[in-house]
């Protein structure tokens, strides 16, 4: 299972990560961080859908996300997809 780590204090709640996640794995939370931003969280607290594609981390303007992709998720299809988009 791949993992997404949030650095909550860096999140500005822009939701761009939610737009690019192919599995709708990220959603807005009810919490605000110290800066007053409404941060995001794993949808329903369930990490299992995450493909570890890293799109969320790539687009996050604030480097608030780190994605650890498990080898298992690294299917050849994913790789192919990455190449062709």
């Amino acid at each position: 299972m791949s993992r997404v780590i949030f650095r909550e204090e860096r999140c500005k709640g822009c939701l761009l990560c939610t737009l690019v996640c192919p599995t709708d794995n990220i959603e807005q939370s009810q919490r605000t961080n110290k800066q007053g931003y409404r941060i995001v969280q794993i949808s329903n607290g369930d990490m299992s859908a995450c493909k570890g594609c890293g799109f969320c981390a790539q687009i996050c303007p604030d480097e608030a996300l780190t994605v650890y992709r498990s080898k298992a998720d690294r299917t050849s299809e994913d790789l192919a997809e990455e190449e062709h988009v």
Binding site: K12, K34, Q35, G36
Partner: protein, 188 residues
Amino acid sequence: MSIYQDAIIAGFGGQGVMLMGTLLAVSAMESDLEVTYIPVYGPEMRGGTANCTVVISDEEIGSPIIRRPLTLIAMNRPSLEKFQPLVRDNGVVLINSSLVEPDLTDNGRIRAYHVPVNDIAVELGNLRLANMVALGAYVRITGIIALEVVIKSLSEVIPERYHHLLAHNTRALEAGAAEIEHKYPSGG
């Protein structure tokens, strides 16, 4: 002695602190007092905190900039941390206790008023009214302006297209004032 009051009003960008400042200032003007208002502006505002300074007096006002204010409205924690140390001894600090823990208050040195303005605003149906709750409380504490004048001045500072919200704002101002009367019966 002559009338003199100054205030720093500070909070997050979206909390409407600038509007609080202008409303306070216009109310002072409508009370035939001298008044200046000065905001921070520019990239400093971006993302971070916003603040403004209001000076009210019955004499010509020299400096619009106040390093050590008599009063402070702190709408969030960073604002309290930044400005509380600057408040003059025995000065008034109004704290948005919905967002700021009470133990951050410098109780010995200043006169602190803890008002859960967010919660009151949410109760009134709209979080965005928190600023008006706070201003209502502030006016009641300091007594520098009559609450009625503040309410009357609302229509001058709120853009015409939002005038349907005047009643809500009025209620929020009143709720803030009421909270003080209730919680700090001797204060203000």
